[in-house]
């Protein structure tokens, strides 16, 4: 089996970005070369899925070379059933982002496309790194392109949002760095994640390590109460930025829990699980109510993302197969759905230059094709059966009820809340009489917009109707993870 696939998945987009930068002021060239790179990046990840051996528990497509021998840091890549899906999702979303920014971005096109491609490569690096420092390096480097994207192509309050985004996330990751160094020293000089999974640690340091990781990942997820950067970042970011932020970046935090917190500090995870569950439920319920009162569509979807991610963390910390698999399905589904929702808002914003719900009304009369997609994605966001949104939520709720009826009960309120805030927004935006003259002048989506919305609609429906290809891949790895978490490391 050729084993440089992961390296290619990381470095093709990053090096390709420099080709795009070279296009400079030539916008057409920049767009087409970015699309070519994005396609190449996606194509290279397909063999990862096709060649993935679902029966195998350990890491696959492993690459291991010394990187910084002085500190025993390795260039160590590999994927298991948990991470492989995210690499695919990420590379796939990158194509959509390039298409979504096609005509919308007029200024510094090459830099825009290049920044997204670099970010795509870095994300693949995060999902495939099995060396803690390599992970950290990708994790933190991915802040740079996002900072630039929000700051350069963002809305009126973009500078504030970009700084908040960067500093918030940096805060978390710096504490994690100290935890990584501590683990390096207590493991006798290794940054190998797989070795860390076997490491015995006392309870007190385990709790501290867990908390250090928690700060890093909770900010990224984001969990209540460190979520406040996300609505700002989403509102100000350009459409593509919001899509990547919601579809991929939020998953990094959740992924971190699975790769670091749970297997390295399982006893602390069990010990602190009530706290994690409480925080998750607050995110699900409280943030759901917050979403209900939003006047800005992007803000509403941002809060709904936080609420959905609360589901994901809830699924992790109830420690059963249904919970974790449901959370993973939810993460992927959320990648499609929230990406699609932000693209829908982007489509309307490009025409109206407003994201206020009050400025719309009766969009369906002017944009029937668009409204069809919009309603479909909204249904998926609300967790309607037969869409991808339903599968994950249902699995997590089932898992939660197994764990404790009342936790499951509270979590299930999301089905009502999610439906309430999403459908109420759809009602106010798409239905009713035509709201004003600007809405009356709207034109329906063009071929480019139809293309990316249709692709996402297919994904959402396919995953909702037949989730087996997704759960099958993760099964063995989740099983293995649970075994790990069940063993005490004291």
């Amino acid at each position: 089996m050729s084993s440089s696939l992961l390296s290619l998945a990381i470095w093709i987009p990053i090096l390709g970005a420099f080709v795009v930068f070279a296009a400079g002021e030539n916008k057409t060239l920049a767009r087409w070369s970015a699309l070519a790179v994005a396609f190449a990046g996606f194509a290279i990840t397909l063999p990862l899925y096709i060649g993935f051996d679902t029966a195998q528990v350990g890491m696959q497509f492993v690459e291991q070379h010394p990187w910084i021998p002085r500190f025993n840091i390795e260039y160590f890549l590999g994927v298991d059933g948990i991470s492989v899906l995210f690499i695919l999702l990420n590379s796939f979303i990158t194509i959509l982002v390039v298409i979504a920014g096609w005509e919308v971005i007029e200024e510094k096109v090459a830099q825009y496309m290049g920044a997204f491609l670099i970010m795509s490569g870095l994300m693949n690096g995060i999902f495939s790194a099995l060396d803690a420092v390599l992970f950290y390096v990708f994790f933190e480097a991915s802040l740079i392109p996002m900072y630039i994207i929000i700051g350069v192509w963002g809305g009126p309050n973009r500078v504030y949002a970009a700084f908040k985004f960067f500093l918030y996330t940096l805060l978390g990751s710096l504490l994690m760095l100290i935890a990584l160094i501590y683990l390096f020293l207590s493991s006798g000089g290794s940054f190998n994640l797989l070795e860390w999974h076997q490491l015995r640690i006392e309870m007190a340091p385990q709790i501290l390590i867990f908390l250090a990781f928690l700060v890093a990942f909770a900010v990224k997820v984001p969990m209540w109460p460190v979520h406040t950067w996300l609505p700002d970042a989403h509102v100000e970011a350009p459409t593509g930025g919001s899509v990547v932020l919601a579809a991929i970046m939020l998953k990094l935090g959740a992924y971190g829990f699975l790769r670091f917190s749970l297997p390295i500090a399982p006893d602390a995870s069990h010990y602190l699980a009530p706290m994690m569950i409480t925080l998750s439920l607050i995110a699900v319920v409280y943030i759901g109510f917050v979403a209900l009162v939003q006047a800005d569509m992007k803000k509403l979807i941002a809060y709904s993302s936080i609420s959905h991610m609360g589901f994901v963390t809830l699924g992790f910390f109830i420690f059963n197969q249904l919970g974790i698999e449901g959370a993973l399905v939810q993460m992927i589904s959320h990648g499609f759905v929230s990406g699609a929702m932000f693209l829908c808002v982007g489509v309307m914003y490009d025409r109206m230059h407003s994201r206020q719900i009050a400025d719309y009304g009766g969009v369906v009369h002017r944009m029937p094709k668009f409204a069809g997609f919009f309603v479909l994605f909204a249904m998926a966001n609300a967790g309607l059966p037969a869409t991808s949104g339903f599968v994950g939520e249902f699995m997590v709720i089932l898992g939660a009820i197994k764990y404790n009826f009342w936790i499951g009960f509270i979590a299930a309120t999301t089905l009502i809340l999610g439906a309430a805030y999403t459908l109420w927004m759809v009602k106010r935006v798409a239905y009713g009489p035509v709201g004003n003259d600007h809405v009356a002048e709207l034109s329906d989506i063009n071929h480019r917009e139809f293309l990316f919305l249709a692709i996402l609609a297919l994904c959402v429906l396919a995953m909702g109707l037949y989730p087996y290809p997704f759960t099958e891949v993760m099964h063995a790895s989740v099983d293995n993870l649970l075994k790990h978490v069940a063993m005490s490391k004291l």
Binding site: F71, K108, E140, V159, I178, Y182
Partner: protein, 491 residues
Amino acid sequence: MLKNFIVPDLYPAMPEIFLAAMACVILLVDAFVGRTQRWITPALTLITLAGCALITYQTMDGQVVLTFGSMFVDDLLADFLKLLLYLAVIVAIIYSRDYLVARGLDKGEYYVLVLFATLGMMVMISAAHFVTIYLGLELLSLSMYALVALDRNSPRATEAAMKYFVLGALASGLLLYGMSMVYGATGTLEIGGVAQAIHLGVANKTVLVFGLVFIVSGIAFKFGAVPFHMWVPDVYQGAPTPITLFLSSAPKLAAFAMALRLLVYGMFDIAEHWQSMLMIMAVLSIALGNLAAIAQTNIKRMLAYSAISHMGFMLLGLMSGTVGADKHFALNAYSSAMYYVVAYVIMSLGAFGVILLLSRAGYEAENLEDFKGLNKRSPWFAAVMMMIMFSMAGVPFFVGFFAKFSVLLAAVDAGHIAVAVFAVMFSLVGAFYYLRVVKLMYFDAPVDAAPVVAALDVRFLLSLNGAAVAVLGLFPDLLISLCTYALLRSL
């Protein structure tokens, strides 16, 4: 008496001798070159430095050789630091040329003073005796005072030079006082002898530690660590930018060597005393440097405060050695500090290089505002500056991240977890003002739409400088291992 005189082995000091001779030649030649042959002096200066590099490289054999009656040492550490020193000085001179020419400051004095300052630094790096250290330090400092005042029509530069001189003289006095105390306690001025006396326990501990306090003060002044940092912002801001560039880069290498020779070579056995002093200075420098930098509008002043915080980080590495055992156990700590200094010098050269690039005749790009919209004016150099800023903030994949990483590793290894957490929290504060520079370059519209013009060699070198920040971040092992190896062979 005369018949006892033995000609010392001059071979280990060949680079210094060559540089001293050439500096005198250049001084002489410069007096005779006409207006049309102004290029001769800089060319000769660069050739001299290249020649020094060649000699140093040729004589590099990894042996520890003492000469001049054990006053002067040539080891791998010295050779390595000197090679970096030449490189930093060469880069500084090339970056500075256009600026100096545009302001009529490209006098022979500049080149000669830079060479003498370089000579002083080389002597400091190779010192094995208190007197040698003092000699090198004074040669460096006196050349520096004159360089800061190079633009004699500028009141700000003169004021800065005055401040620098008064405080510098005070610091030299403190250092000298400390040395005399140590001499009183140990009966020798030789660094090796001092170490021996302390190791055997014959030195009077009270006097020794009393002297140590003054020595540490003198070192801290050279680094510009809190509370001996007062001169740094004023001098950085007041001096002409090329002088700030020079001041902020190469002397840090020499100061590091001085700290290493005095503290580690000389007084390792009382390390617990100087380590606690360094820890206080490190913590204060990181806190004050990062906090004060936020409030600055002048980029030179901002980088001055950033330099203070960087030196704090470096001290964090230097104080993290294992005490009470073989020096080699502390190797990680010292090599991390050394790596930090080298990384800082590379970043600092690049940052001031970009400032110089933006300054034209009659126009000083020294306010943060001048960086507005640089991405529109010159995407390439905006990218270089962005990489340097992110590197200084300690964001990967840049060299600054691995510098911070190795220092933190050493600190946590020595059990200073709380200090490490403190340091990273303040580097979060620091990230803010580096991000602000990036914000100005990328998010804001340019105030001044003039294209960025520069000579080809400057563009090339600056690009190389930016590339070094990135490449040394992608492949950090080379530099880390070189630092470690040089130290390993010299301790």
